[in-house]
Amino acid sequence: MEGDIVQMGAYIGAGLACTGMGGAAVGIGHVVGNFLSGALRNPSAAGGQTATMFIGIAFSEAMGIFSFLVALLLMFAV
């Protein structure tokens, strides 16, 4: 087994990049949880705000996707 330190670094980096997905998970949970707590207090106003919730999810999720992309780049492009 020949040591290829660059490849090793790339794989370790790809693994570390995946911790960013945890951040996205926390963010999405925060968005949806807050939406739900607001929606249960005022259910009549909840329907109109679903789109806003999805936009919030999308922005939060983008960060997780970016970290996934970094992992992919490290795996296949470096």
Partner: protein, 265 residues
């Protein structure tokens, strides 16, 4: 990246490691023969995009051709999709965005149908390729910028000058706004691509894991059914994700359009 993935797969197979690669499903191959993929080569991407367009055509044209007062199944779905997108455009981008409704409807139908077709086993997910999503996002970005400048002239730049903020903060905010404006097409496209690619890679990993552990160890009889259950659950999640990502792609298009039509904060 596809060719690198192919090399990776061969690499893994030659070393006697795992004889599969979850990224193999995203390789663009010519449909006829084994030649190199050029600009005009008919590939599996071309095929599945054509199928997507045919499906949309069948759904919308056949669905609306009868114009029955009591709609049938196909007509119901077509009307539902039309009403859904129209309401979204009205709610998010405003009534004066309705001239751009056909474009947004096209984007919604294409992403939805392409995502759903990608979920058919052994099919090809066209939206998992950056070449497809980046082009769609760039088309949205450029057209929205052009619409903004045509409608408001230099006044469009007020989008970056937030009058609600205190004066000393405004230049800093303007810088942040400009950067976030230009990052839009990146996040817009990568979100769809990444979601599709990640979901399909996860499904393939689980599926190959189920079959590999069955043939390799005695644990297989216990683990494989669990793994198949997990694939089913993830597949159900992916059906949801396929729709939600198409929805998010469309609604973000509406949000960007609203910014172009009403840049004044």
């Amino acid at each position: 990246m596809a060719s690198e993935a192919a090399q990776g797969a061969e690499h893994a197979a030659s070393e006697g490691g795992l004889a599969f690669h979850p990224m193999d499903q995203f390789i663009v191959r010519p449909l006829f023969g084994d030649g190199p993929v050029g600009t005009f080569t008919v590939t599996n991407v071309t095929l599945w995009m054509a199928i997507t367009v045919l499906c949309i055509f069948a759904l919308l044209v056949l669905g609306s051709s009868r114009r029955a007062t009591v709609p049938g199944r196909v007509q119901s779905i077509a009307e539902l999709a039309y009403g859904f997108v129209r309401k979204m455009v009205e709610d998010v981008a405003g009534k004066d965005a309705l001239p751009f409704f056909p474009y947004i409807m096209t984007i919604f139908m294409f992403t939805t149908v392409a995502n759903f077709l990608g979920l058919i086993p052994t099919s090809f997910t066209t939206t998992s390729h950056a070449a497809v999503t980046v082009l769609m996002a760039l088309a949205v970005f450029i057209s929205v910028t052009v619409i903004g400048f045509v409608r408001h002239g230099a006044g469009f730049l007020k989008l970056f000058w937030i009058t609600a903020a205190p004066l000393p903060l405004r230049p800093v905010l303007a810088l942040i706004e400009v950067i976030s404006y230009f990052v839009r097409p990146v996040s817009h496209s990568i979100r769809l691509m990444g979601n599709m690619m990640a979901g399909h890679a996860v499904m393939e990993v689980f599926a190959v894991f189920a079959s590999l552990i069955l043939v390799s160890t005695g644990l297989g009889l216990v683990v494989t059914p669990l793994s198949i259950l997990a694939i089913s659950a993830i597949y159900a999640l992916e059906v949801l994700v396929a729709f939600i990502q198409a929805y998010i792609f469309t609604i973000l298009t509406c949000v960007y359009l609203r910014d172009a039509l009403h840049p004044y904060h």
